[in-house]
């Protein structure tokens, strides 16, 4: 899948194509925002690495590692990181605005349709079905995150604890995270050493 071989990359793979302009960043992420349904990440990789050549596969993995570690959506952070890398703050703003422009308009239009026709039982039923399927996708995402932990008792127990605190005890997120995140980091350090 990766086009770049392991080991030190040749010069052609090391230096990406000509650095994109602010306008190109905006247009690239605008197209990405229009394409990705229910998960933009695979699309983002294909645009940044395969089609536009703004990043090498290794650079993409490196930036994604950072973006996953920071708060905020992965692709949102990736847009900021890529924009910043090539065109500074203006580039980051262009990439982020491009990414969010089309989905914002679409989501508000969907909301208008919902408001206009919410009285019709068929529309209500359709949206109930949609909400149930969306909940199912979210369950699927949770399963994909939990499955890799199934043979690791300590992380699995930490995930369960977090679930109970938020979903069952309904502790507000800020105090819960302030307690759980450092606790989890410490427990994982101890359990490894």
């Amino acid at each position: 899948m990766d086009r770049n071989p392991p080991g030190p990359p040749p010069d052609s793979a090391n230096t990406a194509a000509a650095p994109p302009t602010t306008g190109a960043l905006f247009r690239g992420f605008l197209a990405l925002g229009l394409m990705g349904f229910g998960g933009v990440l695979p699309m983002a990789r294909s645009m940044l690495v395969d089609r536009r050549g703004w990043l090498t596969a290794a650079e993409f993995a490196d930036l994604l590692g950072l973006c996953q570690f920071l708060p905020g959506g992965n692709v949102i952070n990736l847009a900021v990181a890529v924009g910043l890398r090539f065109r500074g703050v203006a580039g980051a703003a262009a990439a982020l605005t491009g990414l969010l422009a089309a989905p914002s308009v679409v989501v508000v239009l969907l909301g208008l349709v919902y408001d206009r026709f919410a009285d019709h039982p068929e529309v209500r039923h359709a949206f109930a079905g949609l909400a149930a399927a969306a909940a199912g996708l979210l369950i699927g995402l949770a399963v994909k995150l939990v499955l890799p932990l199934r043979r690791q008792p300590v992380p699995a127990a930490l995930a369960l604890l977090c679930f109970l605190v938020i979903a069952v005890l309904r502790v507000p997120l800020l105090p819960a995270l302030l307690a759980l995140a450092p606790f989890s980091v410490l427990v994982r350090r101890w359990s490894r050493s």
Partner: protein, 176 residues
């Protein structure tokens, strides 16, 4: 209007900085604020908007824009979007500078390892809370379960699964 916009900005700016592992991890807190703390909508309304937003293209947190628009029109949508995506983007920008220095540092790897289970727990909590109202009838529960299984077991495009839910809803099966 202004107090409402300020309240939206405060909520989403806070959630923005707490959204470790992506926007879905703050979904339970978002629902708690909108439904329980402020009483701006019912849980069913919140879930309907979440389902709508999932049908939109782009990043998976577009429900934020929709919630802002729902409460305060255009300015609500703008304020909510900027508040949700601005602060975390700022942190990303600042962190990029430190990234190369700390890439191999043991504490960075420890923090990353510690956050993995937290993210898994947060997203699971969000899924449970959304599903508890969005899949409250037997037929809707089957739809949710089918979408969950298919999304894990196959590489079907998520839009097909959402369309499946709409089709079942339109059929009227299971509604009184």
């Amino acid at each position: 209007m202004i107090p409402l916009l300020l309240a939206l900005a405060a909520i989403f700016a806070e959630l923005s900085l707490l959204a470790f592992g992506g926007g879905n991890s703050v979904l339970p807190e978002m629902q708690r604020r909108f439904v329980e703390v402020h009483g701006w909508m019912t849980a069913a309304q919140f879930n309907a908007l979440f389902g709508l937003a999932q049908a939109a293209p782009g990043p998976n947190m577009m429900v934020v824009t929709l919630l802002g628009w729902r409460l305060a029109g255009f300015w609500g949508a703008l304020v909510a979007t900027i508040a949700m995506f601005g602060p975390s983007s700022l942190v990303t920008g600042l962190a990029l500078h430190a990234w190369n220095r700390f890439r191999h540092s043991p504490w960075r790897q420890a923090v990353q390892a510690g956050l993995v289970p937290i993210t898994a727990g947060l997203v699971s909590a969000g899924a449970a809370l959304i599903a508890s109202t969005a899949a409250a009838t037997p037929v809707l529960a089957v739809v949710a379960a089918a979408a969950a299984v298919l999304s894990v077991a196959t590489r079907l495009h998520p839009l097909w699964l959402l369309a499946l839910g709409v089709a079942v809803g339109l059929s009227g099966i299971g509604f009184d």
